[in-house]
Amino acid sequence: MTLSNASEHASSSGSLLELLRGGPDSGRLPFPTPVSGPSGRDIDTHSTTVIAVKYKDGVINVADRRATAGYAVMYDQAEKVLPLDDHTLISISGSFAKSVEVVRYLRHTFKYFERSQLQPMSQEGKLMELQRVIVNNVPAALQGIGAFIPVLSTFDREQDQGRIYFYDALGGQFETAEYGAAGSGSGPIRGAFEYILRTKGPFRDMDRATALKETLTLLEIAADLDTATGGSAKHLPAAKYITADGITDFTEQEIKTGLGRA
């Protein structure tokens, strides 16, 4: 008996992709294939600053809320820090449309695997899924369509510590000991991260309020130096943290305190 034509193979492997595609294949996302045309452009990420830093009990993620198209500000309440599961946050930079679709795909992939296979997907497995999505997007990104680069933060319950991964445009994955950042505003503030590490000590030893304050200051500097990163004057930045207990939003009051406006 088959309830859906595609179900037979997908359910044995737990792959949502195969379910959607109707069978095993190369693992490309069900997204439009890129049109052919002039290429040779660099993959450039735009229009954002997202930051993840470790702190004593986990990981903090903050992001500005500006979405741009060329020189125009399209939207100033964009949500760029998104949960992938109960202990994983993805902060996105680059094409907003593509990022949102990727997040949607990954969330369903993880849930489908866990429900059909009766065990959660491993951390390594989840990282692999994300890498594959980025790699599959390279041809489109090279044509200037839908490039995106995320920072992934998760709380590793086996090791009882937060973990942060950042990526290059070709899907290369790097784990970082202290912080990760992406987007056009991340370059200008890179030195400031190192300055904090050398003068104030590692982020992973800070308490939550201190780490949030440092991180928001860095985000404010990025907004000052990068036109595509929004400041906090109109709308407060997005800020979330992950601990062993899961993902929590910082309250408005905590963010204001972190910005020195309490």
């Binding site: 369903h108 489908y112 429900r115």
Partner: protein
Amino acid sequence: MPSFSPYDWNESIQQRNEYIEDRLREGSPVIAVAYEDGILMLTLRHNQRKLYEIYDKLMFGAIGNHSDIEQIRIGAIDVAHAEGFSRSADDVSLQRLASFRLSPAIKKIYSDPFAQPVVLKGIFAELGKTADKDILLVLSYDGEFTITPGYAVIGGSFGSEDKMSDHLKSATADGAPSLGTAVNLALKAWAIGKQHAESLNRPNDDEDDTPPTPEEFLAETLKTGLVIEATVLERNVTRESRYRVLRADEVKEFTTV
């Protein structure tokens, strides 16, 4: 080609029912009860899990052949996830899943005298946005399904299902119970249903013996190594997936039966 008359059809259906009912008879009852803040599903089992998450607000428990249960479970998960991804989680509904996918597929197999029938009775529970939108649905091996408010039961025989329903009907008459009360109601219903099924299987017992109360029966059963499996769909939580398996210590704390 051999002829196949209406009488043959009638007989084959009858034999098929007997075959299926016979295999379901030993099944450990599954009980679903709507409580104040969600839906509880409960059964007793040996090692194999019996209650499953289907989608964000959908869960499933069944008795029958394990391979058949797996097929229905996987089929439901596939349909729900394909729809949830390509449209929206809000478009995944038990009503659509049961009427258009599960029921017709099972009915087709049931009506084919040359196919191996699906040996299964299952309960699907869907958590609504509000309590009055909760749905409990019992799906049977012939593809038929019924929707009941408040509670749902499946057991090895129609008699034991009736007994369990009677108990739950009077116990939930005053409105939805708390989770703790619901656990105890379901446990007692399980004992009533299982006890009834076993008395049917052993009709020659000495009739002078007073049968044990459901509470005594349950205590005896728990000593044999069966464990309580309880899952909930929770309404007032922020998680996207509302399904949660109650921990053994939680169940123990609730249990007064």
